[in-house]
């Protein structure tokens, strides 16, 4: 199957209809080659049911079944090993049930077997994407072929971790840094179902294994930095951020320096990622959580966002505006005062944006009561910043919805402080008049120069042999050709002075 070319992407009509005709993409595998002939997997025969075994036999049977499940099957081949695949599937289902409902099954020897079975089934090198132009928003994701088994393995592992008898002190010998590292790298899977499981599993591991926490945080940072500055590709950013959200939520106060560095060096720069749309909601949540924990971070966060404000991508601008609103929803009034001026300068620019979604989103801030109360408290500073652009676009914007929203905003501001509003209106009008006058003067000057040029040309033709006479000293119009002296002499002195300025 062919990847959708970039040209087809731009033409919005081809996607959906073409995609239906394609069969569902399946994720490649580093363990099995598609359509290759290989020896059949060893046969596995069904073992007796666990529920039927006596309590003494159960343990051994459990171990046997675990070992049996270490056999991996080729799901690209839809014909062979069907019976064995079914056996494994049934066994896995049974194991899931066994670990969920029974107490006392997690004895020490079981731990390494379980981690081994899980590692064997899920740890693999993820192949490069089938579709190099994969657009996560538009395209269907490539799914994992062996999901029927893998899903159950994940389910089993999760139940194992959540079992009331689970002992982190025992498990930590097997669920160690290497294990976790391989787990983290699986987050790059294109299959969202897999990432969903991984997310929950990692969350539980982080919660239970105190000794691994610092390592996990550091490795996630590594992956983020690699994504941001090297590869620009990683599918699991949103899931990581969700986990980080729950971690940030639990930070102890005062915040450690490490966490603040994480905010400044990783979370804020993440806003510059090309694929921001995929994880912006989670990212914004993390940022807001930080600010709720430590409001003194507000200034650096807002200044950071303003520094990275999107200049060419309107979709991102709308997202940033949404995030700013969320931040303003929780901001403390004292912190607001620190960032109000640079922030509203940016909002003023957004309001005047010719992209109607950006303008709408910025104008909609005035519908937020808490933001309105903050603006009211500081209207002396904010009104002058917003006024010029608002007034201008009320006359000039192409979109009638925007014009109506601008009316709402102007009306609200007018009622906040009539006197200041009137003063700003008066000074705006006088500024406009001055500009108009300057424009007129400039036009006039160009017109006169045009006339001079015509006159001068004819003067050259007529007065070829006339002597040139010198300029007056005060006339500093260097660019006028000397032959046009006759005409230059009648140039209005004030005009030439303004031109030379």
């Amino acid at each position: 199957m062919s990847a959708i070319s970039a040209a087809e992407k731009v033409d919005g009509f081809t996607r959906k209809s073409v995609r239906k005709a394609q069969r569902q993409r399946v994720q490649g595998s580093s363990q099995f080659a598609v359509n290759s002939s290989r020896p059949a997997a060893p046969e596995i025969s069904a073992l007796p049911q666990l529920k039927d075994a006596s309590s003494t036999e159960q343990h051994a049977l459990f171990m046997q079944k675990l070992q049996q499940c270490c056999v991996i099957f080729d799901f690209y081949d839809t014909v062979t090993d069907l019976k064995c695949k079914e056996t494994k599937r049934a066994t896995l289902t049974e194991l899931v049930d066994y670990v969920s409902t029974n107490r006392g099954v997690l004895v020490e020897p079981v731990y390494p077997e379980i981690t081994n079975m899980v590692s064997t089934n899920i740890f693999r090198t993820l192949p490069p994407s089938e579709n190099p132009d994969f657009d996560p928003e538009e395209d269907e994701p490539t799914l994992e072929a062996s999901w029927p088994h893998m899903q159950l393995v994940y389910e089993f592992f999760l139940r194992f971790l959540e079992n009331p008898d689970f002992q982190p002190s025992t498990a930590k010998r097997y669920i160690d840094q290497k294990f976790v590292l391989q787990l983290l790298e699986l987050f790059d899977s294109e299959d969202p179902r897999e990432r969903e499981f991984l997310k929950t599993i990692l969350h539980r591991i982080y919660g239970k294994f105190l000794g691994l926490r610092a390592f996990i945080r550091k490795q996630i940072n590594n992956l983020f930095l690699r994504y941001l500055y090297e590869t620009e590709h990683f599918n699991g950013v949103a899931e990581f951020l969700e986990i980080l959200g729950s971690i940030i939520n639990g930070f102890a106060l005062p915040l450690k320096a490490e966490h603040k560095q994480f905010l400044m060096k990783i979370l804020i720069p993440l806003h510059t990622a090309k694929g921001l749309a995929l994880f912006h909601a989670q990212l914004a949540y993390c940022v807001v959580q930080f600010l709720e924990k430590d409001p003194t971070l507000t200034e650096v966060v807002v200044r950071g966002l303003l520094k990275f404000w999107p200049k060419t991508c309107s979709q991102k601008e709308v997202m940033f505006l949404g995030e700013i609103e969320e931040i303003l929803d929780v901001i403390e009034p004292t912190q607001f005062k620190k960032i109000q001026e640079p922030l509203f300068k940016q909002i003023s620019k957004c309001v005047a944006s010719p992209h109607f979604q950006v303008a709408e989103r910025a104008l909609y801030f005035w519908n937020n009561e808490y933001i309105l109360s903050l603006i009211e408290e500081n209207n002396g500073k904010i009104l002058p910043i917003m006024f010029g652009n608002l007034y201008r676009i009320s006359k000039e914007h192409w979109n009638p919805t925007i014009v109506a929203l601008v009316y709402n905003v102007l009306k609200t501001l007018m009622e906040m402080n009539s006197k200041l509003f009137d003063e700003l209106t008066a000074s705006y009008k006088s500024d406009r008049q001055r500009e108009k006058k300057k424009e007129q003067e400039r036009e006039e000057l160009w017109r006169k120069l045009d006339e001079l040029r015509l006159q001068g040309t004819s003067a050259i033709q007529n007065n070829r042999h006339e002597m040139q006479f010198t300029y007056s000293n005060k006339n500093n119009n260097n660019n006028l050709h000397k032959d046009e002296n006759t005409a230059a002499a009648i140039t209005d002195r004030s005009e030439s002075d303004t031109w030379a300025e």
């Binding site: 390494p112 064997t120 840094q177 639990g250 949404g322 609200t412 906040m416 009137d422």
Partner: protein, 331 residues
Amino acid sequence: MEVFKLLKELKSNLELEVHYLPKENGLSLIESTTIGHGNGVSAKGRDDQVEDLWSLTSFFGYSTQTFVLAVNLLDRFLAMMKVQSKHLACLSIGCLHIAVRVTEEECNVSSSHELIRISQSKFTVSDLSRMEKIISEKLNFQFKAVTALTFLHLYHAIALSHKSNRKDFLNLEKLEAQLKACLCRIVFSKAKPSVLALSLLMLEIEALQSADLLEIAHRIQAHLKISKADLAHWRGLVDQCMREYSSPECAKPDHKKLMWIVSRRTAQNLHSNYRCIPELPTIPEGAWDESESEDSSEDLSSGEESLSSSLGSDAEGLYFPSNFRSRACRP
């Protein structure tokens, strides 16, 4: 002399102004009306409506003259006819539209449709034109009203034509803005325009502390035979109004709620999962986290170090614990 001409004009306007005064008993009736469903227009209702008119005037870029005329038409109408409060919005927009057509250049006149859309009114274009017809008939098409603004302009012109050495600057725009603030209260509609304008002028002159201008103002007062009592009365009220206008306290807008209509796309965006509550429960950070860490040797007291060391540092620290077992993949 120019001043002579201006003074003559003043006199003639003084004679005319009574014709454009709204009926006093009508205004008093409005002032005494309580706010309630089914009752007529109350003072607050009228005042709120006039504030809306000012917002619209300002938004569309119309002149103060338009606004003052619109308020004049509105007050005259309200003073003579009993109007239900539900019709007040249509009435005021109608007055504004008439005033716009009378005062502004044709190219700047906005359509009825646009007026209705921006003011978020509930009535239709045909309602509006019907109302305008009624207004015009009831007011006998007397649209070129003599208002306080007329007098303000004349006073200003007179003051300007007296070239004194000190060149005290009477800011006409500022006076117009103050007049506008006064007109937003129905009490000032009872004042004679000449007196109201003179009160504003005198307050401004007092602020500028110019003896020359004060003299001019007194001359005007004498010329127009305005009584001291009248002037004092209105000056007091204007003064109070100006204090409120200039106060840094914000008036909390409590009028009808504005409608915020956005495009479909933005509306979708707003409702999207921005406020999504994550499903993962919070993991509290413990003080004991770091001490139990296996890799406490490379622990991160300073974040800066940790991040730089984490980039590609495979050799350092206890990456693989001592009891690491290799996991051979079993076939």
